[in-house]
Subunit: 192 residues, 2 copies
DNA sequence: AAAAAACATTTGACTCAATATATATTTTGT
DNA sequence: ACAAAATATATATTGAGTCAAATGTTTTTT
């Protein structure tokens, strides 16, 4: 996917490697990240395949070392358009070490589970504030980028709602457990 | 993560490799998948590390070849609990070839974009129906599994809302574009 | 003047996941 | 009886991503 992300970005303007990572992190950081270890090898491969070319080594009144500016070629535009117009072959992939743990919280200490859920709530609240504060920027970047930013906000808000709801359900279940334990002190249920 | 998923599942009951994959696909398929290429090497490693042991080779009045049943050990339970109680070190990771394309739809044909969005809407509608139909099953699997299933439903519904909203916005923008083009036929905007 | 920081490029080692394929055993269908 | 299908185990290869570190150049700080 890095290949097409780079080709896509080079539609906006010519860029050097370091700026490509910056741009991705600033604009897609809420849903995707990338490493230098991915950028430079891909730039080389795209260049070898004739999809981009190095348009120059410049500095443009900016600080720091000279930059290798990359530009997309006609061949690159063509291959990018073909990719853009094909239906995605795979579904959304989601990986979350927190959710992986959550599934098994029935085997652990509910108090600790609630602590970790509280940490997640704080994290998502922070992220949500940051995303909402950035909405002005997305508005200026075009319809599709704005819609993606809205998706990020929606996803964030949805996670927050669910986390808070889960927290309540867990505490309720615990209260019920304590009531049951009071009535039956010798019973200790291991699984909800 | 496969390691802890396997350890977690073996808290429910002893299982053989093939059944571990089945279980994960049936219960976490909406958010995680796994391959045989991951299961058997991990089973071997967990066994070598003393976290699980092979409890027997049985058939239990079931069809097909004999099964190697794995059971978690006390050491395995201990290490699993330690993992369960640590805070997750990484955030949610989300990868979607569709969203990767979506970001760049400004460079493509809006008609084709809407077609692909329609495909996604159909897919999520289908998934949502399936998840809602399965809610009874989750209800019986414990509080945490039910909450995760609800998250899957919420995520699905949120994606559907956003896709439909995006579709409307894109068509609106296109209509505006056509009005503009009618007034200024020599202008063809490449980017929203 | 020299050191530290910022900006930029690059690479190798490693981990994890995906994929394809192979083999084995039992059950079912022809 | 034999082939196909289902169930189960297993592995090698490839692809993708992570991570850490190295190197280079310019600018800023001490």
């Amino acid at each position: 996917m890095v290949k097409y992300a780079i080709l896509g970005l080079l539609h906006y303007r010519n860029m050097h490697g370091y700026r490509i990572k910056e741009h991705i992190e600033r604009n897609f950081g809420h849903m995707w990240s990338i490493n230098y270890g991915q950028i430079y090898p891909n730039l080389k491969k795209l260049q070898d395949d004739g999809l981009i070319l190095m348009a120059g080594v410049v500095q443009n009144d900016e600080k720091g070392p000279p930059r290798k500016l990359y530009a997309i070629t006609e061949k690159g535009r063509h291959e990018f358009t073909a990719w853009l117009e094909t239906s995605p072959e795979k579904s959304l992939l989601l990986r979350d070490p927190f959710l992986m743990r959550f599934v098994f919280y029935g085997f652990g200490d509910p108090g600790r589970a609630v602590e970790i859920i509280d940490e997640q709530i704080k994290k998502y609240e922070k992220d949500l504030t940051r995303r909402e504060n950035n909405m002005d920027r997305w508005d200026k970047s075009g319809l599709y980028v704005r819609l993606i930013a809205e998706l990020g906000v929606n996803l964030n808000a949805m996670m927050l709602d669910w986390l808070k709801h889960s927290r309540e359900e867990i505490l309720k279940a615990e209260a019920r457990e304590l009531d049951n334990d009071a009535a039956n002190p010798n019973i200790r249920r291991a699984v909800s």
